[in-house]
Subunit: 397 residues, 4 copies
């Protein structure tokens, strides 16, 4: 059931960390993207167990109030739409509570710590009349979306190979403090945190992955100092002399087979020196190729058979009108250069609000079923690792 | 006189074209950048002679009302701060009117069509107790600002040479319609429109230019079809069969001498195929070098003497905390990748609001005196062209 | 037994195809690299079953005579050193014959079509007093060698991850004719032809690979037209209407574990649109990273902890003196820009002649034992593919 | 008068410095490029006042003898073709002597220290029946030549603007010793040494320059230590405590007008930190653009109107068959990646030998008249600098 056009959409964010702030800013900017069409968006509440974080974020992004308990959001009659942007293990309880309370829910990825949790969440969403979506924000990258259009439109022919990696350096310094990110079962580390994005992007561009092989999970920094106080995001904090073991994966590598027959090669690392945040991929097709690097989010590369014989080569394509999200999507259209990940969140918020309001416009957000599929794919990677690299089939969506 | 902390700052934008929308979005986002500190910002009015444009922009960015006459803004008691983002020939009258009416004024660049106009505007600003500034938005580029810090901090030694170009393609298609941009005296074309940015950036990074030489102005597309109806920004519109002559410069090139002794080489073009919006420069210093390209706004290059002997080279530096504007400046800090020109306008709006409110924080906007200096520099370029390339001194700031 | 200094070294090349010509040119240029030191090099013979090819190559590179039978080289008393640059299935017989005849042998990679053949060749080499080496020409890349020095010297810390791919497009056009390259058992295609280089480079830089996993071999272009006449290299030739099946791999992907604990991700393709010849890799280490792309052979990237906090990033390092092979290695040293794969062959020929002559200088060529190890590694990849991606250990060198 | 086919061509090089060695290596490799066709090339003599240099180079490149006096080359009956690769002030005497003695002469650029000298040399060449050419080696760059073909063939439309710079760092270190390069009249420094290449490349690609403007010459490092002993090329040598003034230009910048109406912007520096050897340019045309950077000699960029509307952009074109010099020009054709400046000299030697032998094949070398034109152009730059930047016409070729 969509919101009636004309009524207010009250928005809230649970979790006031870095990604939570991105969601808050997203709801604030959403109505200004693409002009009219949305119901009026109210910025109602930001909740965080750290009341100070919640208050700061609410003040900064102009939300009406701050809460320290997510249940206050669930029970608020003036809240319709809620982003859940807290530590992964907390997703299920909060999402189920929100759906029970009749809220539309945009849940950060990965959707849940386990497939079982995600299955329960899918069931909860199916039992609800509200919208439930997972925040795969890279689907809102204009460049990645443009590559998808190229591939889906046949410009490069059938995909044959996909090489993707997501390399971050947030864990490369062994002196960085322990956090919930570094503890959990194998696969709950780099694979869940960033590898999840890469496989989603791979499927977004090239269609479903049907099997994975050859997974290798490894932990490079085997223990970390316990922090003093509360960390937010990846920020540095004071640490104690106590050290605790890192129990999940710093790195992962695997291969994959797509339904199209294409072969995939994937790696993810949170200890990748020199790579603050590099999601990059190349897709090779029968008649062309395309490439993306998050370090340069406003462009992508395409090689195809349109070039003269004497001057073939990858074109450096600057994101421009005609590409997804660009025309009307920013205050200054192209040729205003550049955009970034923060913009992805505004576009995602807009898309979810349109979805809630029943408006045709931007592509819909990933469904809970897609979020579950993503987790099953990650589980298959872990299973392959446990099985010495043997192939593990991925349950179709 | 600064606004008292605690009171409201009513903002307005005159001109609802592409850049006007960027200013409007800028005022909307300004309070969310860097958290608390600003007085409450009210989004009051957007004015445009095209009432529909004004209404659309007001609705989109959440301004309370739309006006079709700038004087309605000047006389509005609830407006304190006004951006003037209209065709250059209209700047003087509106700016003087706003200052007379006691408004703080942020005027787009170039400040005025003539030095005489700009001198009058400087006088008007001096006679006013309000803030008057010119919107050189590239000064808000984190990467350009970081290069400035490198240069000013001595990391590359004394600047020896600066090569800068601003190449755009908005005029490359001869079928693109005539507009006010293409008519005026020599120097009012590419030089004023985009060359003005390059010289401001050059001085922002390397200090004052004291003389220019060797200017060559040229018109490549000598006539253009007259449009039917009103164009906004660089958008395509229907054209008639009537053609009118282009009377100003499509291209310009010149050399320059900086007070530091450095030599500059500059070019600008609005007919640069393949370059939607390329402001790029390299500064060579005694002990290092730095480079920037707007096509990749989130990074810059630096070479200096810190590299090991075996592995020297330009570093691809991703804009990150420690660089200007980054920490706290976006919803998601680094390592969230990417930002763009729209972000420059939010930072500029924030800076001007801080300036109006008397708050220490971001660097101040360029003053009217700086805007006048910029015009004098452009005038010197034109004078050099008229004098067969002979050197023309630039009046110091 | 090394050649006595002062005596002549008679050189010959068996195989006058593209790579054979590179060897021939290599022997010609070898004495001019790094000045004095080598015995006088005589350019004696080029042999090819295609007598015309042999004659052309001999004339072009100044060899004294052409032969149509490799045995004429084996029995020639004025030949000391022979490169074997023929189709892989012919390597063993020729190499064994040459060693029997007392020649020093430089055999192209991959060393043989099967591990059994290679083992026999290792035995033959051990039974001989002559030098026997395998031509892994990428070990002569100054940039790859410089990265090796960085890694081995500790500049980037212990290697943690290696991503390498070798993408070529020689098979991307299904109209390209059938050749021996496209027929053979799985693994004899892209894996043997180009994947062999990537794993050798990986081990050259990061040390031994101990196991592979997750291999996926695939054939994309399943049949090709039979050519009319003889093809040389990858050149286009006339084709007939008859089509034959492609029986080996167009693509391969796999993961690997290094003795150091590092994880590897590999892919190879001979149907990679847009990639004429892209051997590229990145190695991530504990304190740095390095990257190479054959499209730009004269440079490499390094990120490490020497950069100032404010300006970290990958450095674009131009190959220069201090890097392997550069000082004295070319007629014009750095700052003469650029070199290419042809230069690798000159350096390789020089190295092998030094080795034969017992002169200390360039690094030695890969031994037959290393060539065998490379084949065992490729066999492990194939075994992993046959075993559904399960891990297969690699016999240590 | 061309050499009769079938007879021997005896070659010699006067000057055994870095560029002299490149010429020597060029004559050695020339016959192997493009297969048959040339008369047999004898490598006869290398001459240098430093007898050791001459002997080393002769031994290294296989020349029959070394001389310490250029006159021994002029009078040698077995020498037909001579490269003159000595300090610029010595060119005239030697070239005139060689032409008098009936030799074909390939003279390094810049052709002479003064226009008057060059005029005399042109007269001497006209009075001779031998070939006389100037070694503008960048005309042998496959990538630059391919860009020329694109431009001349109309692929990018009429050229509108050319931005070119040649930045070197050989003088950036003030501790580098004094040499003849640093002393002479203004314009004999960076302008003559490297700026001469840039303007030749500009005219090679875009046609004649008719006027220059706005020249600024500057000396950055005003004195240098006197070396102990003899320097070769840019190599570091021991220096004394004595310092001498640098009397010519470290840097130059100017603008230019082409006969086509295009505008040029030029800079050259020998004190450009981070730029060992960067000749780079971009040409903007009515319907396209092209770009080159010597740091990556094996590729060039092209943007034109062949790209689909959705994916325009500069293509990274790897030099390949169909581009000048590639097919048959190297031992391994494309897809063998990479080549460099040393290869330019081999191609240049081949071209000059073809020219001497009256063989159609590669483009002819630049004539003495072209070398004189180049000097007149440089003189115009100097004259513009002396005239405060005023325009100075360039005498047409």
């Amino acid at each position: 059931m969509a919101a009636s056009p004309g009524r207010l959409l009250g928005t809230a964010v649970i979790g006031a960390g870095m990604a939570g702030r991105a969601h808050a800013a997203g709801y604030r900017v959403a109505p200004t993207l693409f002009g009219a069409g949305l119901p009026v968006v109210r910025l109602v509440a930001i909740a965080d167990v750290n009341a100070g974080f919640a208050a700061d974020a609410a003040r900064r992004y102009g939300f009406e109030r701050a809460e320290s308990d997510w249940k206050a959001v669930a029970t608020a009659p003036d809240v319709d739409v809620v982003s859940v942007v807290v530590a992964n293990p907390l997703h299920r309880e909060i999402v189920e509570g929100l759906l029970d309370a009749g809220k539309h829910v945009l849940c950060e990825k990965p959707m849940a710590p386990t497939v079982a949790d995600a299955e329960a969440m899918v069931a909860a969403a199916q039992a609800s009349v509200r919208e439930a979506a997972v925040g795969f924000s890279f689907r809102r990258s204009p460049a990645i979306s443009a590559i998808r259009e190229q591939v889906r439109g046949g410009a490069i022919g059938r995909p044959l190979a996909f090489e993707g990696h997501y390399w971050c350096d947030y864990g490369v310094d062994p002196a960085r403090p322990m956090s919930w990110r570094y503890q959990g079962r194998p696969g709950s580390g780099a694979l869940a945190d960033i590898g999840s994005h890469t496989v989603d992007v791979a499927e977004f561009v090239c269609g479903p992955i049907v099997a994975v092989r050859g997974a290798v999970l490894s932990t490079v920094v085997t223990e970390r100092p316990v922090p003093v106080g509360t960390a937010m995001g990846h920020a540095a904090v004071e640490v104690s002399d106590v050290r605790e073991p890192v129990t999940n994966d710093d790195q992962v590598a695997f291969t994959a087979t797509f339904a199209s027959g294409a072969t995939g090669t994937f790696s993810a690392s949170r200890v990748a020196f020199g790579h603050p945040n590099t999601l990059a991929f190349t897709v090779l097709g029968e008649r062309g190729a395309a490439t993306f690097d998050l370090n340069r989010p406003g462009e992508f590369g395409v090689a195809d058979d349109t070039a003269p014989d004497a001057t073939p080569g990858y074109r450096q394509v600057l994101v421009r009108p005609g590409h997804p999200y660009v025309s009307g999507g920013f205050a200054m259209d192209f040729p205003a250069m550049g955009h970034g990940q923060n913009d992805f969140f505004g576009l995602q918020a807009r898309a979810f609000l349109e979805q809630v309001a029943g408006i045709e416009g931007l592509p819909r957000c990933a469904s809970f079923a897609e979020g579950l599929h993503n987790l099953r794919l990650l589980d298959a990677v872990v299973a392959s690792a446990h099985a010495g690299g043997a192939e593990v089939a991925v349950t179709p969506l």
